[in-house]
């Protein structure tokens, strides 16, 4: 029996390995997942390491200016960069995070809660990496009800039958 190839799959499909859980990095996977679902793709998100923060019941991603040389905020009619040393000052990350959230709201960009809810409603399959759940000592009840638990083999079972596989 010949094995099916991705070319035989009628519905288009997308999988994303989600490894990052900060406010800024949370957007790409949820934007791509919800949009792909709206385009009738079958979508699977595989959350591992810090990506697990995005499937906790309470979604409250943090933000840091640290280690991001490209980050600059539009301020006073120009763009102000945030040198790494600023992250040392207590409160700077929190303020930068609030500024980012305000900017997101003012520009009509969806909130993460909204996007995650849209992903759930459009049947995006979400898998949390069992190993990292154990490693960071999360409990099943810390995570949203819609999440499944699985490992690398589960991921490959999905990925080998998926048109587009990404790592974020």
């Amino acid at each position: 029996m010949a094995e099916d190839t991705v070319a035989d799959i009628k519905r288009k499909s997308l999988s994303i390995i989600v490894t990052k859980g900060s406010l800024d990095w949370a957007y790409p996977p949820f934007i791509l997942a919800t949009t792909a679902a709206a385009l009738d793709y079958d979508v699977t998100l595989f959350f591992t390491f810090y990506g697990l923060a995005l499937v906790k019941k309470k979604l409250d991603p943090k933000f840091t200016v640290l280690g991001n040389g490209a980050m600059e905020m539009p301020m006073f009619g120009t763009h102000i960069a945030m040198p790494n040393i600023m992250a040392m000052i207590p409160g700077v990350d929190a303020v930068a995070g609030s500024m980012m959230k305000k900017m997101i709201k003012d520009k009509g960009v969806a909130s993460l809660d909204e996007l995650r809810e849209a992903a759930i409603l459009s049947d995006v399959r979400m898998i949390a990496c069992q190993m990292t759940v154990d490693l960071f000592e999360y409990k099943r009840e810390d995570l949203i009800d819609e999440i499944e638990l699985g490992g690398a083999a589960t991921y490959f079972e999905v990925a080998s039958n998926t048109h587009i596989n990404m790592f974020i």
Binding site: T35, A38, L39, K107, G108, A110, A118
Partner: protein, 76 residues
């Protein structure tokens, strides 16, 4: 063939697409969804949305600062 209106003005990517998809699912086949948006990216995105979902983009235009799209619900 009725027309339904979606006001997506002020919303940014991907919200106009997500809301349009949701509304298309709720309207009868062959009805038309009229979408008003201000996101300049929506011009390319609604064309891509229609070509990938099999709905028909009847019209893609602009009235002042507002982009207007007419999509016929032709997909299953």
């Amino acid at each position: 063939m009725a027309e339904h209106v979606l006001d997506a003005k002020g919303l940014n990517c991907p919200l106009p697409i997500l809301k349009a998809k949701k509304m298309l699912k709720s309207i009868p086949k062959d009805d038309v969804l009229v979408i008003y948006a201000t996101d300049p990216g929506s011009v390319a995105d609604f064309a891509a949305f229609c070509s990938q979902t099999g709905n028909e983009l009847l019209e893609s235009g602009q009235e002042g600062d507002t982009f207007v799209f007419k999509i016929k619900h032709t997909a299953d």
